[in-house]
């Protein structure tokens, strides 16, 4: 049984079932109101599921001890405005059980990492939104967690800040950490993530592997002469949408591994192939196809 959360009469998460592999950068995609933030909160023990159970790093999500290995950047990070950047990181490090000696080394390194060293003694009340996001990211990483949840980490960041977040996520993956990323910026997800799932009305409605297996639906545009109707009909083994318009052949196939077979079929059928252009479906196209173009948002 998947995770379910109901607020009064509103179903926030319907039946969520997913597995994240250790060491991967995992993207969690869905439109506004799809239940992404509620799902993350359930995984972190902030929200109690109405039914179902979540396990994080092998332990139930409400287990306090396992949180020593988890970092979390909430959406729209806010904290005590009277703390300085240095004090904030020290405070969160202490909550994570870090020693004073370790924090003396770790905090300056983190401030350097997120580009806030010149602002270490500045109070959070004087921080811009982008600076708050950076210090929020630093507090999520202070104890070098095995699993990091990042909820809209690039929100409020300028292009340099977004690049910084991408670099940090890559560094975290290199370190061996698992990153659970929730973002609306699909181009960022496409560059950063190994795998994504699409969530709609609190249920997983699709997934895509972006790294280890680049296979996926692909659209092909080809310029072909001397091709028979039988040859076009023969393409149905790989595509249900093959259509010839003059010399322009268009088709969509479910897997890039079909491309050599399609090309061989065209040539062996006596066709002269002048152009053969596979066009991988972008994450955005796939997202819109799954979610529907107009959701009235």
């Amino acid at each position: 049984m998947g995770l379910r959360k109901v607020f009064g009469s509103k179903i926030a998460v319907g039946n969520l079932s997913l597995t994240v592999r250790r060491g991967e950068v995992f993207g969690f995609l869905g439109p506004n109101g799809a239940g992404k933030s509620t799902s993350i909160k359930m995984l972190l023990g902030l929200v109690k599921p109405s039914s179902g159970q979540a396990f994080v790093l092998g332990a139930p999500s409400d287990n306090v001890k396992v949180r020593r290995k988890i970092g979390f950047l909430p959406e729209d990070f806010r904290f005590y405005t009277w703390l300085t950047a240095f004090e904030l990181l020290k405070f969160h490090g202490r909550l994570c059980g870090m020693s004073a000696a370790r924090l003396r080394e770790r905090v300056p390194d983190l401030l350097e990492l997120v580009g806030l060293t010149p602002h270490r003694e500045k109070r959070l009340g004087d921080f811009s939104k982008g600076m708050l996001q950076r210090i929020g990211l630093a507090q999520a990483l202070v104890h070098e967690p095995e699993l990091v949840f990042l909820d809209e980490p690039t929100s409020g960041l300028d292009p340099m800040g977004r690049r910084l977040v991408r670099d940090i996520i890559r560094a975290e993956r290199k370190r061996g950490a698992t990153v659970f990323l929730n973002s609306h910026i699909l181009s960022e997800i496409e560059i950063t993530c190994d795998r994504v799932v699409f969530i709609k009305e609190g249920q997983v409605v699709g997934s895509r592997d972006l790294r280890a297996n680049p296979d996926g639906e692909v659209h092909v545009v080809a310029r072909v002469h001397n091709i028979s109707a039988e040859a076009i009909a023969g393409l149905s083994r790989w595509s249900a949408s093959a259509a010839l318009d003059g010399e322009l052949l268009t088709l969509t196939t479910a897997s890039t591994s079909s491309l050599p077979h399609i090309l061989r079929h065209l040539v062996e059928s006596g066709g002269d192939v002048f152009e053969f252009r596979p066009q991988t479906v972008s994450l955005e196209d796939q997202f819109l196809k799954i979610m529907g173009e107009d959701r009235g948002l």
Binding site: G45, L46, R67, F72, P74, F77, R78, F91, L95, Q139
Partner: protein, 276 residues
């Protein structure tokens, strides 16, 4: 360990946000005013040749007024400083970054509670000490059982703090403030109704007062404190604005302590169970 870190940051917050220093300044201002008043009173009593026994009772009554003002200041400080601590952090989402750290929710709540309790203890001790010192050095009067009185006022503040925390786990800051001040107002009016009822031998008024004290026993702790700090002579001649006509019994102190513990458990349960 987590609770102590939270207690420490609560103290640090009070100091940084100038809450503590504003309270200290208000307290110091009150003590200066009270000392000046006491000084003039001593001078005027001497110049009007008031009999020593009456003069002494006037000064004791003045001292009681001083402690009453301290009680009001401590109550107001307790509610105003703590009303936003849970509800505010829940509504702003600040609590999320803390509650996902490896500390239990009870540690978060108890840490904050201990931080405020520590500040209130320091405040009540300093203010009771200040009023007692002014009474002794300016007028030569000493309250009876001042330590017991201070402890009872501290218990009253802890009671209000705990109710504020319990409501803060469920309601918004504004609603929380309205509920806690409303409950204390009920206890305050109920206390006076009970005293008036006792003086006018009206059992129904006394019952009404007792019921209001059972709903919220905060004000009855002040009335017990006022009773404890009066000498037997003062009690017998009733020369004080705080009548001992219907002083709350020691059983009421026990009830208030039990009330506090139950409300604290409710606060911990609510905070543990709620979604953040």
């Amino acid at each position: 360990m987590g609770a102590w870190i939270m207690a420490g940051v609560t103290f640090q917050e009070a100091a940084r946000r100038k809450i503590l220093w504003t309270a200290v300044a208000a307290g110091a201002g009150f003590l200066a005013l009270f000392g000046t008043g006491m000084h003039f009173q001593v001078k005027d009593l001497a110049s009007h040749n008031v009999p020593p026994l009456i003069g002494h009772q006037v000064q004791v009554a003045m001292l009681q007024v001083g402690f009453y003002a301290v009680d009001l200041l401590a109550v107001v400080m307790t509610i105003l400083t703590s009303v936003d601590t849970l509800s505010g952090e829940i509504s702003s989402g600040t609590i999320q970054a803390i509650a996902t750290k490896p500390i239990s929710r009870w540690e978060v709540l108890m840490g904050k509670w201990l931080g405020f309790a520590g500040m209130i203890a320091i405040y009540v001790s300093a203010m009771f000490g200040g009023v007692s010192a002014i009474g002794y050095f300016i007028a030569g009067v000493r309250p009876h059982n001042v330590e017991r009185g201070a402890l009872l006022v501290f218990l009253e503040c802890l009671l209000l703090l705990t109710v504020t925390f319990a409501c803060g786990t469920r309601f918004s800051t504004l609603a929380n403030g309205v509920i806690v001040l409303g409950l204390h107002g009920l206890a305050f009016i109920g206390g006076w109704i009970e005293q008036i009822g006792a003086m006018t031998t009206s059992p129904r008024l006394v019952t009404l007062g007792i019921v209001s004290s059972l709903i919220m026993p905060s004000e009855s702790m002040w009335r017990r404190a006022a009773f404890e700090m009066q000498s037997s002579l003062t009690r017998s001649i009733q020369f004080t604005p705080f009548s001992n006509a219907s002083a709350p019994s020691p059983a009421m102190v026990g009830y208030a302590t039990l009330y506090l513990l139950i409300v604290l458990v409710v606060a911990l349960y609510n905070f543990q169970e709620r979604d953040l």
